[in-house]
């Protein structure tokens, strides 16, 4: 089966600093690729390039036959690429419900009852059902992470880019999010999961890509890479 996402020879420099040097990997439908590595080695940049917020200097990102490096972010989202951000970015003056429903109905001009129902369902799945009328700016940091996930899922993604979704979560919230992501993965949604935490990567990822300070990368199974205590993740 052809991979859903193929990233090849990705190169990116910021202000003369070479962040990525020929990074390449692929992700299949329903597969979870863990993305680890020290801070500042380009993990978030890879996600930003995939979702169109940053243009690479060279290389290609092919998603389901489309070259994403040529497309603006809203078109990429429309193709089925959803994402969360490392620092939660709620639309603070909108309610929690509005944050999600705007993503559910992004491609439509009229809000249908089923769009509202879907938004409510997603909020219930991430445990925010009873806070849907709150302004998003009032949520705790853990709740903001869950809102990010709900908003990303609202776009019906086939590929979900998760940037440190487990940061600032309580043990209970972490367990619930883990279960949610596993169920989403079983439905065939591919994921790229950025995390520094070996335990989470072991439990969720099928393969792991570790970026290095030199701009290169190592790829392998969680068992192979994460057992290497000398490898900084």
């Amino acid at each position: 089966m052809d991979p859903l996402l193929v990233v090849s020879r990705l190169t990116k420099a910021f202000n003369g600093v070479q962040l990525l040097r020929g990074v390449g990997f692929h992700v299949g439908a329903g597969e979870v690729l863990g993305l680890a590595g020290p801070n500042g080695t380009g993990k978030t940049t890879i996600l930003n390039i995939i979702c169109g917020l940053v243009r690479p200097d060279a290389g290609a990102v092919i998603f389901d036959g489309h070259d994403l490096t040529e497309l603006p972010p809203h078109r990429i989202a429309g193709l089925g690429v959803g994402r969360t951000f490392q620092l939660p970015r709620p639309m603070r003056d909108l309610t929690v419900f509005e944050n999600v429903v705007v993503a559910v109905a992004a491609g439509r001009s009229i809000l249908r009852p089923r769009d509202r129902a879907k938004a409510r369902d997603l909020l219930a799945r991430v445990g925010l059902g009873d806070q849907e009328q709150w302004p998003a700016g009032r949520l705790s940091s853990g709740a903001l992470r869950r809102l990010e996930v709900a908003r990303a899922l609202a776009t019906c993604p086939r590929l979900l880019l998760l940037d440190e979704p487990f940061a600032a979560l309580s043990i209970k919230e972490e367990r619930e999010l883990m279960a949610l992501l596993k169920s989403i993965s079983r439905q065939g949604v591919a994921m790229i999961l950025v995390s520094h935490r070996r335990r989470i990567l072991r439990q969720l990822a099928h393969r792991v890509l570790v970026t290095t300070a030199e701009g290169t990368f190592r790829e392998g199974t969680p068992g192979e890479l994460l057992a290497d205590r000398g490898l900084e993740v």
């Binding site: 809203h74 970015r89 909108l94 944050n99 705007v102 809000l111």
Partner: protein
């Protein structure tokens, strides 16, 4: 704006509609006509700068631009009844063009460049004047003549003009309120909140920028064409800096993006300042002072980011 506020607005508009039957006082009716027109104008900025978050510093361009288009259409021999629609279409296209041109600009940069465009237009209309073979001066400081909707000598001239402008105001309020509550309005607010996030959920910022600029400019233009047809002239003052400050400051002070707040404040200020005969210089000082004070609030979020 909740249901109670909508009901209150409907009641106020209905009450105002009775004024021409109660009095034929020209001073009062003139004051209310101008309050209607300037409130429509402020609503145009509140939609563009408040709801959509595109801080325009040159909203007078919509007002004066539409007024001058009405003047040009008059010179071209268009009938008076066709002028509002044609001028609105023209100014909406201008707005859409500016939206496209400035689609990458945000915050203070957008404010400055829009202010500059309006000022350039202001200087242009002042500079461009010519004398006809009959000896009449057209353009320049005297502005352009505009065909009025109704002859000033007509019976109940002020009453009909008041009802026309009040109807336009009520319609503007209703349409903008509907947009604010609709899905497109939610998308506009989402883009205003965080354009990066909004893009990653599938919203096209360029398309919304063009549409909101066109709509905000058209609303300001509606006020401009009503004013020009009421006054019978498109004067350079319709493009003045004061007008741009008025729109910004009243919208911010009234509750940016709330539609009803700026409308109420604009109406009250226009009636009050008109009643007190406050001179344009004092108004400019007043509005620019508020604008300076509001700047910290206006761009505070940008600095935090």
């Amino acid at each position: 704006m909740n249901r109670t506020a909508v009901l209150a607005v409907v009641l106020v508009v209905a009450s105002l509609a009775a004024v021409p039957w109660l009095t034929e006082d020209r001073f009062l009716l003139n004051l209310l006509i101008l309050a209607n027109i300037y409130t429509i104008y402020v609503l145009g900025w509140d939609f563009l700068g408040g709801l959509a978050g595109h801080t325009s510093g040159g909203h007078a361009l919509s007002f004066g631009g539409a007024a001058y288009l009405a003047g040009l259409l008059t010179l071209a021999g268009c009938p008076a009844w066709s002028i509002p629609a044609l001028a609105l279409l023209g100014i909406a296209l201008v707005g859409a063009g500016l939206g496209w041109l400035f689609r990458r600009l945000e915050g203070v940069y957008l404010l400055l460049v829009t202010l500059a465009v309006a000022e350039v237009a202001h200087e242009l209309v002042l500079a461009l004047g010519f004398t006809t073979p009959e000896g009449y001066t057209i353009g320049g400081e005297g502005g352009l003549p505009v065909a009025p909707l109704l002859a000033r000598e007509a019976e109940r001239f002020y009453g009909y003009l008041f009802w026309t402008s009040l109807f336009a105001l009520a319609l503007t309020l209703l349409v903008l309120y509907w947009i604010r509550c609709s899905l497109p309005g939610l998308k506009i607010r989402a883009l205003a909140q965080d354009v990066v996030v909004a893009q990653t959920v599938g919203l096209n910022p360029d398309r919304f920028r063009v549409v909101t600029f066109a709509a905000g400019t058209a609303v300001g233009g509606l006020a401009g064409v009503l004013y020009a047809q009421y006054m019978g002239v498109a004067a350079p003052s319709t493009l003045s800096l004061e007008l741009s400050f008025v729109a910004m400051t009243v919208s911010i002070a009234g509750g940016k993006g709330t539609i009803i707040g700026p409308a109420v404040l604009s109406y009250a200020l226009n009636v009050l300042l008109g009643w007190l005969w406050v001179t344009p210089v004092v108004r400019l000082l007043l509005y620019s002072s508020v604008a300076i004070l509001a700047a910290r609030w206006l761009f505070g979020r940008g600095r935090e980011a």
